[in-house]
Structures are given as structure tokens and as C-alpha cells.
């Protein structure tokens, strides 16, 4: 039944058009990569600051700027990614690389929202500037780095296996 639903997604008119397009498919692909670039490109410096790099600069500067660019990147990657998925939905859904990737995306998003809630609850702004972040933040930052970089690697491997 799931298989049938996925095949009917593949057969939607606009999905069919995308699968057989000359320019749209590579452009959607580029959109997905742009999204991943914004996401990982924001997450890495943000997590490194939480881990204690660049302590001369206030942590909230990193948080306020990079979480917005990373969130926009995530949204773009999800929208374009869903379109790419739709063009071969049944094949992707069967792939264990894809399943692992989606599981890690869910883990990464949950981790990020927990970190965001912790940042809101604890008064980080009033910490001394050079003070190390509380261990829970550092643990979240390590998890975030590992998860998002793994998502990127799994995503790339999907194209080859």
C-alpha cells in the first residue's frame, strides 16, 4: 500500500515533468545543495563557538545570526529534497542509506530545537564572555556536528549506491 502511494507520487504530473525536465531537475538539485551549504555552513561555526572556539566574540552573535541562515538552509533543503525524492519515491524509500539519512535529519532537528529551548531558558547573555558553555550545550554541539555532517555524507552516498 505504501509502495502504491509512492508510485502514485512519482506519477503526479508535476513530478513526472520534473523527472523528464532538462533544466528544472539540475536547478532543484542546486537548490538542495544551496540549502545544505547554508545549513552546514551555519551549524559548523555555531557549534564550534559553543564548544569554546572564538571566545573573544559573544556567543549570542553566533546564535542570533547563524541559526537563521541555518534554518533557511534547512527549509530550502527539505523543499528541494522532497521534490527530488518524489521523482523516484519508491526507490529512495527502499534505500537504507535514505532511511538512515532521514532518521538523522529528525535527530538533528530535535537536537537543534532542544538546544534552542535551552538557550532561551538559560541566561547565556549574562555569562562572562570567555566562560566555557555549560556541558549540556557542549554535548548538544558535538551531537549537532556529528549528525549534520553525517547527513551530508549519507546524502552524497545516496547518489552512488
Amino acid at each position: 500500500m505504501i509502495e502504491q502511494a509512492l508510485v502514485s507520487v512519482e506519477n503526479l504530473a508535476f513530478v513526472s515533468a520534473l523527472r523528464n525536465s532538462t533544466y528544472m531537475y539540475p536547478l532543484v538539485n542546486a537548490g538542495h545543495i544551496l540549502g545544505v551549504a547554508l545549513l552546514v555552513g551555519g551549524i559548523v561555526p555555531l557549534d564550534l563557538r559553543l564548544l569554546g572556539l572564538w571566545r573573544k566574540y559573544p556567543v549570542m552573535v553566533f546564535v542570533d545570526v547563524l541559526r537563521i541562515t541555518a534554518a533557511i538552509g534547512l527549509a530550502l533543503a527539505v523543499v528541494c529534497g522532497a521534490l527530488l525524492f518524489a521523482t523516484a519515491a519508491a526507490d529512495y524509500a527502499r534505500s537504507s542509506l535514505f532511511q538512515a539519512k532521514i532518521a538523522l535529519v529528525v535527530l538533528g532537528v530535535s537536537n537543534a530545537s532542544i538546544l534552542a529551548r535551552m538557550l532561551k531558558r538559560q541566561d547565556i547573555r549574562s555569562l562572562p564572555m570567555e566562560a566555557p558553555m555549560p556541558p549540556a550545550f557542549r554535548a548538544g554541539a558535538v551531537l549537532s556536528l556529528v549528525v549534520w555532517i553525517s547527513v551530508l555524507i549519507l546524502g552524497r552516498l545516496l547518489g552512488y549506491f
Binding site: 564548544l51 572556539l53 555532517i149 552516498l157 552512488y160
Partner: protein, 126 residues
């Protein structure tokens, strides 16, 4: 000790890049295939056309082979239609087979259907 942590991260990044690079030899382009010219003739069993490239499964000598044909514009350019690549048609494929032992996968450079040549990669010797 931020410097120490940073070193770990750099090591991790290098390892990740290495893994990604070794995987990259696996599929796109020609690097995953052998250099030797390869030819196979079979009857089309199933077809999945579209981006990023079409896949045609053929049966030859009792074995199924997957043939990678072009993406839509490459097939269109040489006049290779969905009808020509449909189930039951006989097709001869010139191209390069996967370098992986036992993998029955060919990337097509040129296909022949009903005696007619369709040269997907005119710049390459086939």
C-alpha cells in the same frame, strides 16, 4: 583547550572527505567503469527513464543487465524515444561495464535498435 578540540575536528573532516572521495569513484561519470569497450545484446525487460539518467534492464543469455542510458535531453538529442526503449525490444549496447566484480551494469555510449545507431556520446569512441 580549544586548540586540541579543533585538531580533532580537522582530523574528522579529513576522514570524512576521504570517505566521500572513495565513494565518489562509484557511480557518476566514467570512473566507476572499466576502460575496455564492451558490447551486449538483449531484450528489454523494464525501463525507468528520467533524471539523473535512464535505466534500462535487459535480458541477455539468461541474465539481467542494467544499462544506463542518457538523461532526457541526451536521449532526445539522438532521437531515442520512450517507444524505442520499451519492453520486448531488442537492443545492442556499446559502452563500458562496471569495474565492480560481478556487477551487471553498463553505461551506454551508443545503442543500436532495429539496425539504427543512436550515439549518446558522439565525442567518445564506441
Amino acid at each position: 583547550m580549544p586548540q586540541l578540540r579543533f585538531t580533532y575536528l580537522v582530523c574528522f573532516a579529513v576522514l570524512a572527505a576521504f570517505l566521500a572521495a572513495s565513494a565518489a569513484q562509484a557511480h557518476h561519470g566514467w570512473a566507476w567503469a572499466t576502460d575496455e569497450e564492451f558490447e551486449i545484446t538483449g531484450v528489454i525487460q523494464s525501463v525507468r527513464l528520467g533524471n539523473p539518467h535512464g535505466e534500462v534492464t535487459i535480458r541477455a543469455d539468461g541474465e539481467n543487465w542494467v544499462v544506463e542510458v542518457g538523461q532526457p535531453w541526451r536521449n532526445d538529442r539522438v532521437g531515442l524515444t520512450r517507444e524505442m526503449l520499451s519492453q520486448g525490444r531488442e537492443i545492442t549496447v556499446h559502452g563500458h561495464r562496471s569495474a565492480r566484480e560481478g556487477e551487471r551494469l553498463v553505461k551506454a555510449e551508443r545503442v543500436v535498435i532495429d539496425g539504427q545507431d543512436y550515439d549518446l556520446y558522439p565525442g567518445r569512441k564506441s
